[in-house]
């Protein structure tokens, strides 16, 4: 039995099945990310002065990733338009650029995650806090790059990312014997992973969920671009519809990032 309205639109709604399906799915996605954004607002407004970090993330990398996603959005829509104009070769070219953009985005995001997992806050016995990237962990010492000592009173007055960028950074070598010990005798130092504070928790949750969407979207686009592309010869209209649907999801992923970038990187 043939399923109706897989290619041709219904008379009453003017829509084919998958179009309704993807918009219902995107509506649920809006609520999913909306719930996380509302969590972000609650955590940020509830944070004590100086506890919410500013300028922690690399803005040039975030901006590059924004541009990469914008480029992928135009190539997705151009790929769909190419199919509408019966130009399959151009469709293949545009979608291959989309896939490269997806890989570039994930590569940059992975680098940023690695950067946070090597970024440490170290509590010293004299009460000072050192903050920087761990580059050496020897038997007696640790070395932090792009490091500085945290001034809690000054940090409480920081409200903008540009103020954080004006802090001078240097290389700091710390004797392990100078580091405070936790219960159990472990050194009191912690990376900026999701466990570090509420900011990193919501940062990793939001960007991690977004990255999963990028991976999911890229897998669908890849299968339609490669293994399933034979459908263009057998049922071109349905194939074009599938490209449109995958494109709508991809644009949504771009849309979410458009809001994530200023909220997490710039404010």
């Amino acid at each position: 039995m043939d399923i109706p309205y897989t290619s041709e639109p219904r008379q009453d709604t003017g829509l084919f099945n998958a179009k309704v399906g993807i918009w219902l799915f995107l509506a649920s996605e809006v609520m999913l990310f909306g719930a996380l954004f509302s969590s972000y607002i609650l955590l940020r407004v509830g944070a004590e002065p100086g506890e919410w970090p500013h300028g922690l993330l690399n803005i040039p990398l975030g901006m590059t990733n924004t541009i990469v996603l914008i480029v992928s959005s135009i190539t997705v829509v151009m790929a769909w338009a190419s199919l509408k104009m019966k130009n399959f070769a151009r469709f293949k070219l545009f979608q291959s650029i989309t896939l490269l953009c997806a890989l570039a985005f994930l590569g940059i995001k992975s680098y940023e995650y690695h950067d946070k997992f090597t970024h440490y806050e170290v509590w010293l016995k004299d009460g000072k806090i050192a903050d920087g990237h761990l580059v050496e962990n020897n038997a007696d010492t640790i070395v932090l790059h792009h490091a500085h000592y945290v001034d809690k009173e000054a940090a409480a007055k920081v409200t903008h990312a540009w103020q954080e960028r004006e802090i001078k950074e240097e290389e700091i070598t710390i004797k392990k014997s100078d580091i405070r010990l936790r219960e159990g005798g472990k050194l009191d130092m912690e990376s900026y992973g999701p466990w570090h504070n509420t900011y990193t928790a919501i940062y990793f949750t939001l960007t991690g969920l977004h990255a999963l969407h990028v991976i999911g979207g890229a897998i669908v686009i890849f299968f339609l671009w490669g293994p399933l592309s034979g459908m263009w010869k057998t049922d071109p209209e349905r194939y074009t519809n599938r490209i449109e649907i995958s494109g709508l999801f991809w644009h949504f992923v771009d849309l979410v990032w458009i809001f994530l970038f200023p909220v997490l990187y710039l404010l």
Binding site: W23, M63, S73, V77, W162, F259, L266
Partner: protein, 105 residues
């Protein structure tokens, strides 16, 4: 979007997509430039960033996702989504008021 366009119509659409693409790039550059500017007011900084993000979101949703010329049923779905999303955000902001029952402190 209507599926009855011929190739000539799509050429026009392509020009529009390219215009939106350039606008999105310019919007991104302005957002970053504004963050580097030493604006003292947190409210103004947030307002600028979110205003540009909303404009970019409108361009992506309106032109790349074709919402500017979609069918009524899709608008209906989105209207319900906007209602619930607004409710979610209202509850969030309401919960932060001192007089609310769900106070975070």
């Amino acid at each position: 979007m209507s599926d009855n366009h011929d190739a000539h119509d799509f050429q026009k659409h392509v020009k529009r997509y390219l215009f939106v693409f350039y606008a999105l790039i310019v919007g991104t550059v302005i957002t970053v430039a504004a963050s580097w500017a030493h604006i003292d007011s947190v409210a103004i900084t947030v307002a600028i960033a979110l205003f540009i993000a909303c404009m970019k979101g409108f361009l992506v949703a309106g032109y790349f996702m074709h919402l500017i010329s979609e069918r009524k049923m899709i608008y209906g779905i989105l209207l319900a989504t906007v209602f619930f999303f607004a409710g979610l955000m209202y509850l969030t902001i309401w919960s932060m008021q001192p007089e609310s029952l769900v106070h975070i402190r």
